[in-house]
């Protein structure tokens, strides 16, 4: 039988280890918060750990005073919303027919091959860039949405989830005279909330965090999404552009260092995602379970 004492030791050790590792995962965010709210002298003396010292919000005031930040924020919100609509719609429209058997959907094999090729082979950076360029999509929000609009991973997730839904429901709907599209919308989608939520989360996170497409497809900084703005402006931060009149008008700017400004900027750009995912957690755990490698 099990040694009761050794089990207890293990449980305590396990809880401690997991807590410590979880703390390591939180560390960067805690450090960001601490540095971005601290005063200049403490940050420069390198005394900020995990708690703000000399609490002040001047870094954030500086960021929010820059109209570029809000332009980029809007660009990101726009691409994320449009991207979500387009991608989720396409995922459903592709996954539903492909979830049917060859008997019902005779051309299935052809389409499976058609989409499978894109999973194993791609044209890479330069040809994709040239296509976007030829279509005159440079500087348009669609250049950030259309090239990546069909994500096979999501299609597979959705497809496998559809397959777990009993076929009798569909037969009943079809007998009642509903078409395929109506059956999909009325029968399948309401039952697929966990995977719809999971895929929604994937899409939102990808769009919010994408920066490279913004960098190559947008050549006006006004059109940069937030992460591209963060990448180009903040990681190469230059405080010398602060004019003396600006300083005279707002003496608080003296409290800013490059480090706290950068931290504040990163925090402002990532916070929305960090606030959303804990609420979707129960969905994505379930959606992944039913839709993933069970193939």
């Amino acid at each position: 039988m099990e040694n009761y004492a050794s089990r207890k030791v293990f449980v305590v050790f396990n809880v401690l280890l997991l807590s410590f590792i979880a703390f390591l995962c939180l560390l960067p965010i805690l450090n960001l918060i601490a540095v971005s709210f601290s005063t200049r002298s403490v940050v420069e003396a390198n005394q900020v750990g995990l708690w703000p010292k000399g609490f002040n919000t001047s870094s954030f005031q500086y960021i929010f005073a820059n109209p570029q930040f809000f332009k980029s924020l809007w660009n990101t919100v726009e691409r994320t919303f449009l991207g979500w609509v387009v991608e989720l719609g396409l995922t459903i429209l592709i996954a539903y027919p492909l979830s049917k058997s060859q008997k019902v959907f005779r051309l299935r094999g052809v389409y499976v091959w058609f989409f499978m090729v894109t999973m194993v082979f791609n044209g890479g950076l330069i040809p994709t860039y040239l296509v976007v360029n030829e279509l005159d999509l440079v500087n348009s929000v669609w250049s950030l949405i259309l090239p990546e609009a069909v994500v096979m991973f999501n299609v597979l997730l959705m497809l496998n989830f559809f397959r777990t839904i009993p076929g009798e429901l569909e037969e009943a709907a079809l007998i009642d005279g509903a078409g395929w599209l109506v059956t999909m919308v009325r029968v399948y989608l309401p039952l697929s909330l966990p995977s719809l939520a999971t895929i929604t989360l994937f899409i939102l996170v990808r769009h919010w965090n994408s920066w490279f497409d913004g960098l190559i497809f947008m050549n006006l900084p006004d059109r940069y999404p937030l992460m591209t703005y963060l990448q180009t402006m903040v990681l190469n931060l230059d405080l010398s552009q602060l004019s003396s009149t600006a300083l005279a008008n707002n003496p608080q700017l003296l409290e800013i260092t490059g480090r706290s400004l950068r931290s504040a900027m990163i925090l402002a750009c990532t916070l929305p995602i960090l606030l959303v995912y804990p609420f979707l957690q129960r969905f994505f755990v379930k959606g992944m379970l039913l839709g993933s490698v069970k193939g």
């Binding site: 330069i126 259309l146 750009c269």
Partner: protein
Amino acid sequence: MLLPGVILTIIFRYVPIAGLSIAFMDYQPVFGFFDQRWVGWDNFEYVFNLPGFFNVLWNTLFIAVMKIIGNLAVPVMFALLLNEVRNRLFKQSIQTMLYLPHFLSWVALAGVLVDILSPSSGIINNTLAALGIKPIFFLGDPETFPYTLVLTDVWKEFGWGTIIYLASITTIDPTQYEAAIIDGAGRWKQTLHVTLPALAPVILLLMVLGIGNVLQAGFDQVYNLYSPQVYRTGDIIDTLVYRIGIVDVQFGPATAVGFFKSAVSFVLIVIGYKMANKWAGYKVF
């Protein structure tokens, strides 16, 4: 129903694949696509003879393979540890925290890492110093840099990686545990003889599918963390393509490198799928 998806796939997937023919052209952006001069294998010859090309290839392989191994082993371990936690609230909060880094973009994380890994002012090196360890130049020392990449990548993704294993653990038939207990198996024996074997197919499957990623060293991460002083060990195929293609505007050679990568990955992915199908009965669709 499939039409919109098919059209977009043709435009943004199939046309670029056809565009790989740029690899065989002396591509001048001022001329149209059909007015270019064909140069055969010249671009390939050019890039294979670049000083350090095989170094870049090796870096890519090394970093990617280490990441694949780390991202397989570490999540399994933590899934098993999390599985032993009985308190649901504690388990869920720990999970929420472990998932957190997955949701940060490499742009944001790079900014944070530069800060906390700094040899002079970073919180990590400060802690090491307090323990009497010499500061480590995580991002600036070519010897350390690849390991920093692997470590930070595993740190970012391991929590997310546990989901798939935790999900598989919940599908294990409870009677198997009951049988093991009747046979006198303790917790550890149960893990060893029931849980791990039940996870084996999933681990095998992810491993085999991971074969296709051995040239995927992670552009986002490397681009945001590297600097010329660590090119020797940190430069990868994707960053090289970016510098040749977008920075130097040499479309032909950049596409040649991309083509090379695509072709190798293609072969490996197909091998991986074939093996997955044979051993785990896995079908993509």
